[in-house]
Amino acid sequence: MRAGLLWLPLFVVPLVLHNDVVLTILVFTFILGILAVSFNLIFGYTGQLSMFHAAAFGIAAYATHLSMAHLGVSFWVGMAIAVVVVTAISLVVGTICFRFKLKEFYFAIVTLAFSEMVRLIILNWSSFTNGSLGINLTDKPTVWLPGETIVIEGTQMWYYLSLVALVVTVFVCTRVVHSWMGRCFAAIRLNDELADTLGIDVFRYKLVSFLIGNAGAAVAGALYAFYLSYIEPDYLAVDQSLAIVAMVLLGGRDTVAGPVIGAFILTALPHVINFSAESRIFVYGLILIFTILVMPKGITGAFARRSRVL
């Protein structure tokens, strides 16, 4: 729980720093951090490279808005519906993949294929999703307190909302990782065939980690969509999935919260490095290569004194 104290200063930041640009970057960092941390559950802890994460992210964005628009529910109910929808789809995709015992690389390609298929559906089902034009969202999340209704808008409120959501996500993931489930995940990551012989139901635990991870992505999707106030099919693009992988690698896949650092760097980087756009792409590629070859444990790994047992 010592590590938990590191989060406290973040709550104070908006009171001290009144720079909207920096706060906006942090809001995006937190939301994308949820995305990255949940991905790490599947990738870093269970060892499965899923390329479906961006799809979960995008599906939730659309599902939240569409349920609010067609069913008239509030943001939170919409988000819950989105999580249910994403979980259901992930159940199908995950069952297909894991039942057939697809190995690492093949799993990545099949999840990529499913992700692209969903993207194409959303892109072409214009009557329902407005296709490539995307949808501008005008609704805002509201919080009910006794006596008043607070509408969440503006950078400061979003800052706290997303920070709380991130902390909750990290907390949940930490509990999962330290539980019996988490130990199964680790066993599967190290050698899934061996885990099988040890009596661990590999299929079930792979599926569970996939579902929990995608549920996290769904939450991130709902938040991101309503913060940016615009959704488009590109939410599900391959580039987005790759960006998530990069965040996790950069931040470090050995810890639950490590990916948040990766999310921060990749979100802030384009705004800090001010030279030509081509050089930025160049640097981005170098980061991916560099972290794998030189810093495989990511930034948090490089700073950690001793490696964790799990």
Binding site: L49, F105, Y106, E116, F282
Partner: protein
Amino acid sequence: MLQLFVGQLLNGVIVGTLYGIIALGVTLTFGITGIVNFALGAFMAIGAYTSWYLTDVVGIAYPVAVPLAVLVVAVFGLLADQTLFRFTRNNLINGLIVSIGLISVIQSVLLMLWTTTPKNMHYILPGVLNLDLFIVPKMKGVVFLVLLAVILATYAALTRTWAGRAAYAFAQAPEAAKLMGVRTGFLQTGVVVYSTALAGLGGALYASLYSLEVSMGSSYILKGFEAAILAGIGTVMGSLMGGIVLGVTEAVGSIFFPQAYRDAYGLVFLVLILLFRPSGLFVRTR
């Protein structure tokens, strides 16, 4: 309708060979060295831009520019292998991610050199051949024949030469191969370089048919993988067949279904094959 159908069948075969050459690169690298080189699409782009540059800017005759371009790509492939892939041998995920990073590096360099304005080579062999049922652009026909020849040559090399058989041996039992005196380090490097050269050739020929953009390789690498997995990793003629199956499906599918779904066929195939016949269509299951 028949004319359209047959025409597209043949068109699909031709387009499919371009997928096939990339699939061959994929299958060789993955099958023999176990690493996945997503950057093959970017190497294809290097080959395409180099051949365009040599032909249109420097003024070398196209038939000479193509082998030169392939050579250039092979050199870069060697460079990539020695500085990067050498350290990720047999760590599939790491190799995958490194190659993705390499794509960004290559694309940004191409951008810095040549910007996003699409490049168009002057027409090498304009005009079409009008066979009754089907119109084939002359240059497309030439590309088809060249790619076919290279794939057949690769097949011959792998099955009949010592180096080829060593490669197969290595693919099946790396330790044993090493014990038998196969220079495994050279072999792995050789395969990586050869597959980038294949991609470079595909790119150099692509440049005579289509306009060039820095991101041109990304759809080809995806389709190359789809074709390779469709056919089954490790089989040379299979990757050609896989490419053709994919090309034909897309071409014929476009007649009946919206063109917008063209990229989906490959994806659906991929999923179905991996679920129901993971070793691929053209590989004998043990």
